[in-house]
Symmetry: D2
Subunit: 408 residues, 4 copies
């Protein structure tokens, strides 16, 4: 790969990406464009602008954007239509943010005439894969620079030295190493590494940043109603909300009640297992609510097919294949199923758990006439079940008859 | 179907199956053999013997058996190896008991020279299918009699009349109709019908029979350790227990902490949707624990394949195809994966929720050397990731290049 | 089911459906509407009109339609986009025609105010299921009458007697029983029953009606080019053709060269196995051609997902679930993949076999620059493969290391 | 990677692997062990021994083995139980041989105290991945050397120069470049590269090495009978044969009749598409025969599950994951299904095509009594079909009723 001339950097304003910024300038002598996105990570963006300016970035090369609505509408919600869970438990909070960041990096590269993009993910994790697969899928000629895989700043000491040599301001609490590594956005906060590296050891309380300790959550349950239209949540307790506003509200509710904590050891795409602590308060409620409304509005055939496709779909997102034909095929199938997933779900939030306790819809397929234990006025002829069973049993009988025949 | 000469009846000793018993005698003039099983439903079996005698069943025709160990060992545990959930949520507590009951019915029929078996499931539910598919798969020539699909005792009044005319004792509280219908065994209690038929309405508190109200559960979390060997739970807090004893103990723990309640609308195999309230205290803990131990002992490729196969496997059990070649094929695949699923999981039980907080094993695949944020002493070469990404990206680049070429 | 007042009958004009027509009139005293479709079965439709008139059907109640274009465009082609094969071999020629016939039956019922439809499929086959599931899916209140499951005309003699008593003309060659049963449409001809019932016995030559004996086919191979657009065939040897015209032409070519014969024992949805002889000359060419064009235009990820979904998709069509949400979900996924399946395939037809021998497309993903054994000018860096392999191997190494550790 | 001390080389005796041998000696100064296997590629092995000796390999370091029986018994046959086809068409002839070669390389390394293995696959293909994944899965500490990814002998001229400088004898016809690249074993011959690189161009006749041109094949069809036991072929025309002898015989038959040619563009695991010409005469017959015997002996549920799992299974083998837990899980499922796949298939071989024309078995599930168009003596009650259809239709009716309700 020839040296880049102009690089768009995913820039948080923190120490690590500031070091990357400076390293790109010094290593390649290239122009740097910074992209700082508000994905709901809960940090102010203004300091990032100031720091970028301080590091010599031209004002027209500083991109700061609030992309929370796009994030929830075009990434989080489509994923929740699938009830996606990676390895049965993980709501993919980090995975789903990466393709959007890469999309904006590539778009800004095209706007600014940059020939490369850069990210601050390490060479051990999944995020490098997600950033880069997305970038290449959107622009096959873009260069992607992953400094952590290239440079020789392989220890905290070397990083701090480089920062000091390059006049990069270092917050006091960043001199030492953080006790664990954090990623956050509107969907979740993940924590991993360091104190969390022994999967036998319980995560310390201070790791949790976004959810109340269940023991400290309110002693009274709270009941909420989530409204859906065509598979997407659109309202809470009757109030219509934009996608990002809705998820923000669910996060408040979930966080308050200690909902959405997960201690997981997962299989990374790059091959090893890692342990993470995830907090997904709103997403955990949303998954239950979506399943709740599907229970009455989605046909069994569609629901079962969705369940069978889901692990593959989740794996694709986890592995970084959001912009792949097969993810898009699965999305087309999933979206096709959501036309009538409209209605309202009532949920109980209480000390770490969320449960559906009621659901109703004009689009309901639930037929009390058919299922009732009472007289059903001819809606269902129980005698039909005899033929249904006989023909379902026929091949099993033929198998059993063969076994008996051969044993004789 | 010609009239049966001798019928083995799945007999609970309750009013309904007593009516069936008498009806079989009067309708067909046939000899009846009763089979009453202790599956952990929490009822004494002695009354069933007395009632059967009272109804004229010969002592040698009364079979009363404790099959709890077989139930857990050969049915529940194999199913939990798969992490089976029907429609994402249901632990299949009723479904998994039916094939075992049918197996014993068929075996007793063969021992006693009976040509038929009978069950008390209605013509609207899944249980009739499960009983009958299992019976036919085990004996292709057996007759199966499902009185609810045949007789004209179509109202409570007619049933009570029939009972009175036939000197069947009627407990006072059975004269009226129960407010809902219950099925129970060592794995779960399910409640459905009547007061539960409107899926919008929250289930009344009195429906729950086996789990403490989370609000009334202890205010302090309890931590337990579940030990596994080759995919099956074998110990709690270091004490080795038989399968049934272990599940009993987990039920106590889960019940005490209000764990395992589920309010579900599900798609029945016979075509309509129904609403059930399920309580699976021990099973809910067991599922989390099993996933916890798999997290460190099961390879990613195996784990993902299991997750993809699971919905089909769960559907087969739900639909009554336990004794089918395809369930056995899936079981073979699943069991093949469990050889190293051995180790210990630590869980937190608290007011309705259960979470893994630690896991360890001699069989662990987790490698701190590979995953660490610290210096890894060469265990992993971050530069490998570049090639990994490039080749995974190649087809995406070729796709993107085509799109660009065609747009020009 | 109450007696129907007005019935739309799928009417071929042959003896069997004429008997059904009369039987409906006499059994129910109802008005009959006949629907006779040209699906490319190769029979003239005029005699059907005359015969219907003869049997007392009012002219406005006689529907005769050429639906070949709709059949190929909306049913056959969507199915071929999936490369659908049932049980690995069967091109679903009968299965795919049934939902279209039912659709028209239901539509005509609605136009004519009929409350029922009727078909001439027996109670042992799949066709009854396909007709009826489609009808119910399109009109949940329609009655479906399947005389073969109801009446007592259970032998050839009784049928002939009924015909004679009711002045139904009987062609001489129809007095005895046909040596086998035939279904035909533009996609295929199937033969089953009678002389074909022993799957060990080779089908007699006279069974084949639509394809030249390979031994009698031309001694010289013929090469043809099939053009595709977005997954559908649109031209042969450069000549653009309508869907039905194209399939007709492929049938001529395939038939001439003895292509598309299949001797199959298949598993019916109703439970037993049956043996059929299928002739699908054009479809067999079309499948190879479609796979050929996909080879260069379809991404590997999309292609593999399609291959994994295909058996389920084929099973749904075979079982009669064309109008089901899950078939539509799969179709949405499949169609999503076909956007660039555009180009030309060259095939060799010779004495029973068809093989792709070349393919080209502006939409090709094949990159000679990447794959060449020659110098590739930097298109591909072979060193990337090392990292690719290392990370794919990592989990396998961790597994192997565990095995070694435990064996010590 | 530190330099290897002793390397086991997969050695064919040809020019390329001789150059590798010498290069290993000169590059690393290491001891080389050669492993030359008879996998049925149709070359004598003695010259390989002589050439190895000539190049200075010690006699005890020269391993020459006939592993044809192991190849067919433990690799080819298990794969054929799955009816494996990659991308719908490719019988995986090259893919399936690689894990066996790696297994022997690793075993010999352990026997001889070697710390590395080496292979002659290039950095662009799938074979490098297959060799190396297998090696690492069997010995996580082995070094794998792939000279084509490392050295600078990047043109034919440089290779020939190296050979001349190192006294490696060069056959006259090897001085120039071969017009295409060939891999062969008992299952197939593949040809790719050079003259085959344009997928639009028909492969020249001289590419085919193992199958008669269909036009030149006998003018009379030949009928053969293949016997199976538990899923594996065991006899031809009544003669019991060992696995390798059986496949050899099928190759003769298929080759004679021009069977098993395939012109394919496939998606490689490393990301690009490539075009290959495959000849798999015996395997093509075997696949049809195996499907033929499964048609009567394998239950529909098992057969359909197998078909759904097959593409994944084939992909795993193609990608080099033979020694992976997920391939072993799938194998366990597949093998579980083959217990009764025993019986005989009759096939017609004629000018390039192979078709099943009859099959019979004591294990047959085909029941003429059930399927017959004749009177079935009560084996099947056609009225059962009504209930079967009604309950299968119920959810479709509920869907249709919803659509109608909402449209009002």
């Amino acid at each position: 790969m020839s040296a880049p001339k102009k690089v768009v950097l995913a820039y948080s304003g923190g120490l690590d990406t500031s070091i990357i910024l400076k390293w790109l300038q010094t290593e390649y002598g290239c122009e740097v464009v910074t992209f700082t996105a508000d994905l709901g990570q809960g940090e102010e963006l203004d300091p990032a602008r100031k720091k970028a300016e301080l590091l010599g970035i031209k004002p027209e090369n500083i991109y700061i954007e609030d992309i929370r609505e796009e994030f929830v509408r075009d990434f989080v919600f489509p994923m929740f239509r699938a009830n996606a869970l990676y390895e049965g438990l993980y709501l993919l909070g980090t995975s789903i943010a990466r393709p959007l960041i890469s999309k904006r990096l590539v778009e800004i590269a095209e706007e600014t005439g940059a020939d490369a993009v850069a990210h601050g993910a390490t060479g051990k994790g999944n995020d490098q894969v997600r950033f880069e697969l997305a970038a290449y899928a959107l622009n096959p000629e873009i260069k992607v620079i992953a400094p952590w895989r290239i440079w020789d700043l392989t220890s905290r000491t070397k990083l701090i030295d480089f920062a000091e040599q390059n006049q990069i301001p270092i917050a006091k609490d960043k001199r030492g190493e953080a006790p664990f590594s954090v990623d956050a956005n509107l969907l979740h906060t993940s924590s991993e590494g360091k104190v969390l590296e022994d999967p036998a050891e319980m995560a310390p309380d201070y790791v949790y940043q976004r959810t109340t300790h269940p023991e400290d959550a309110p002693n009274e349950a709270e009941f909420i109603e989530v409204g859906f239209e065509k598979g997407d949540a659109v309202s809470i307790n009757g109030e219509t909300l934009s996608p990002a506003a809705l998820l923000t509200k669910l996060n408040e509710l979930g966080g308050k009640h200690g909902i959405g904590r997960l201690d997981l050891v997962e299989g990374r795409f790059v091959g090893m297992k890692s342990r993470g602590i995830y907090e997904t308060p709103g997403g955990t409620i949303l998954l239950q609510a979506h399943r709740g409304i599907e229970q009455i509005t989605l046909d069994r055939g569609a629901a079962h097919l969705k369940d069978e496709l889901m692990p593959r779909y989740a794996e694709l997102i986890y592995n970084g294949f959001w912009y792949s034909p097969e993810r898009e095929m699965l999305q087309a199938a999933i979206d096709r199923s959501q036309e009538h997933v409209t209605g309202t779900v009532r949920l109980k939030l209480y000390k770490g758990s969320v449960n559906v306790v009621g659901r109703w819809s004009d689009h309901s397929l639930y037929s009390e006439a058919h299922v009732t234990f009472e007289e059903d006025a001819g809606a269902y002829d129980q005698k039909d079940a005899a033929g249904f069973i006989q023909l379902n049993a026929l091949r099993l009988k033929l198998l059993a008859a063969r076994d008996r025949r051969l044993k004789r």
